[in-house]
Amino acid sequence: MSKLLDVREIRKLYVLTGQGGSGNPFMRWVRARLTSAVDHTPVLHAVDGVSFSIDGGESLGLVGESGCGKSTLVGMLARLSDPTSGNIDFDGKDISEVPSKQFHDRPERTDIQIVFQDPHESLNPRFTAFDTIAEPLKRLKGITNKKELQEKVEAVAKQVDLPLQLLSRFPHQMSGGQKARVNIGRAVAVSPKLLILDEPTSALDVSVQAVILKLLVQLKQDLGMSYLFVSHDLNVVRLLCDRVIVMYLGQIVESGTAEDIFTSPQHPYTRALISAIPNTDPAGDLRVRLSGDPKSPIDPDPNACRFHGRCPMGEDRCSRTAPPKRIIGEGHYAVCHFADGSPESAGDSNG
């Protein structure tokens, strides 16, 4: 299958100004004159050299804890923010060069859509369901004819199983599940090729979660979309995704098929994530538990594993050499000193 999205070595760094006036050239000059301290501006590495690809019709899961850069990455892929460096190839074209402010004019804008987290918060409270779904059709597809718009919106509503009488309602008049449908409807109205789902079910009750997940699977089949599915809920990721990437502090630590990740996780962080899933049949105490908080993403040590310090397996070399990428099997790699697999051969960068 051809690659729909190919992300190479994407980075997002934030230069931290405002700390002791380090961003102000005058203050820097003053400090340089008065002290012998090395001029150093701290840099936050939100996303640090991430590469992956999504095939047409594939669902890729993205997991990791809050603060690991998931949302920053999603923002860059949806072209809502600009990467510091790296390339995003979408459908064969590099879209990372277009500034995010101008991206709305590009034809790719309709092709990449995003379903934001928490339908209660992400819908405009002054827009009815109809307005919300009609907005991208007006703005991106240029449909102005009222009748045509009405037909289009109703077709979308049918697609997402939203009863037509709800179209005139405002968000506060709808239930969580209905709002989730509107939110999904808004994103799929322009028939995107890639749909980014940022925790689409985390704000929903389990009773409606299942219908929404099934709806997503159905839509994917009907519209032939690819999904990038960001979620905390690993059980949901397992149900929905073909492949999974695991992020930790701005980097991918493991990537593989959903089956591989869940049945034979190689990176200790992935293991901890999986054993943290609450289980209806308690399996005993073979669980990996993490202690402490992640390291700071500000100026991370390039010659150390970022997981070192929290890692239950960590040893001396982890703090001295950055872990290598090890290929474990077909399409499965982990970035860890301890993963058993062959070291990555030169030139093969896509794992």
Binding site: G177, V206, A210, L213, F262, L273, P278, D281, R287
Partner: protein, 323 residues
């Protein structure tokens, strides 16, 4: 039934909220007990009355809410008829609560150590001189690294998981008999969630404390609780020891809830959603509030006086046509 005296006993409780658009019958005939050293999970969808039950038990119900029937006994105290000063004495000392989103529950402009000292001093367990030492000790008990330094930190300087540990330290500082944890891990990462839940379980065991875990996550309740109380639309519809409940759920709603929860194995076809939504509690409702969503419904279901009955010892179900 258990012969021991429960720490918390909620008996046949009815709570109503008077609102401009009508009276919301938030709780009806709610009964459950929590014993020493036991963790009880209250599980249900949002709006099922989990938090209202807990808040009524603490005596912190919103003024719009009224208890119209029933009794709550907490460590021998009749909560509903106690004076406000008695309740204030009780809260923190006898019973404590951990809320969801710890960052909003903490005072943003007071150092976390001071906030713990406040609780200790309010209940006379510390004086001005030894408050700091005791607060640091409380921080240590919830396994916060470097407690001496964290004592002076403000909530914004700490991660969500760390803030929740502070909340736990604060709640447990006066060694209460009962801890109510209301969705303590919502908004936390799975790894942090596991660590926080492990901590709560460990501390509860260590102190032989009674714990109520309010959650919408059936899997989490299964993992940590000894007994589970399932609520739906203000009714307790089933309560049983965890293993028993999962082995043979009696109420159709419980069974559906289990089917709707994604599991590790299996495919999407194995999970089913629950048709319909919670009924509007402002309207006149049939005795079984699940009847409109239930597949097993028949006319006899809505005969009046639907009460809980014991299916097997310790396993209560409120259903006329149990599974």
């Amino acid at each position: 039934m258990d012969k021991r005296i429960p720490v918390l006993k909620v008996d046949d409780l009815d709570v109503e909220f008077r609102t401009r658009s009508g009276t919301v019958r938030a709780l009806q005939n709610v009964s459950f007990e929590v014993h020493r050293g036991e963790m009880v999970g209250i599980v249900g969808e949002s709006g099922s009355g989990k938090s209202v039950s807990a808040m009524t038990a603490m005596g912190i119900l919103d003024p719009a809410g009224q208890v119209t029937k029933g009794a709550i006994t907490l460590g021998g105290l009749d909560v509903l008829n106690a004076s406000e000063s008695t309740l204030q004495e009780m809260r923190g000392r006898e019973v404590s609560m951990i809320f969801q989103s710890p960052r909003t529950a903490l005072n943003p402009i007071r150092s976390v150590g001071k906030q713990i000292s406040d609780v200790l001093r309010r209940h006379g367990s510390a004086t001005r001189q030894n408050a700091r030492k005791k607060a640091v000790k409380a921080l240590m008990s919830v396994r916060i690294p470097d407690p001496e330094r964290r004592h002076d930190a403000y909530p914004f300087e700490l991660s969500g998981g760390m803030c929740q540990r502070i909340m736990i330290a604060m709640a447990l500082s006066c060694r209460p008999e009962l801890l109510i944890a209301d969705e303590p891990t919502t908004g936390l990462d799975v790894t942090t969630q596991a660590a926080i839940m492990d901590l709560i379980r460990e501390l509860a065991k260590e102190r032989n404390m009674a714990t109520v875990l309010i959650t919408h996550d059936l899997a989490m309740a299964a993992d940590y609780c000894d007994r589970i109380v399932v609520m739906h639309a203000g009714h307790v519809i089933e309560s049983a020891p965890t293993a028993e409940l999962f082995a043979s759920p009696c109420h159709p709603y419980t069974a559906k809830l289990m089917k709707a929860t994604p599991r590790g194995e299996g495919s999407l076809d194995d999970i089913e959603s629950i048709a319909g939504s919670l009924p509007d509690l402002r309207t006149e409702l049939p005795p079984c509030r699940f009847s409109a969503r239930c597949e097993r419904f028949e006319d006899a279901c809505n005969a009046p006086h639907l009460l809980a009955h014991e299916a097997t010892p310790g396993h209560f179900v409120t259903c006329r046509r149990p599974l």
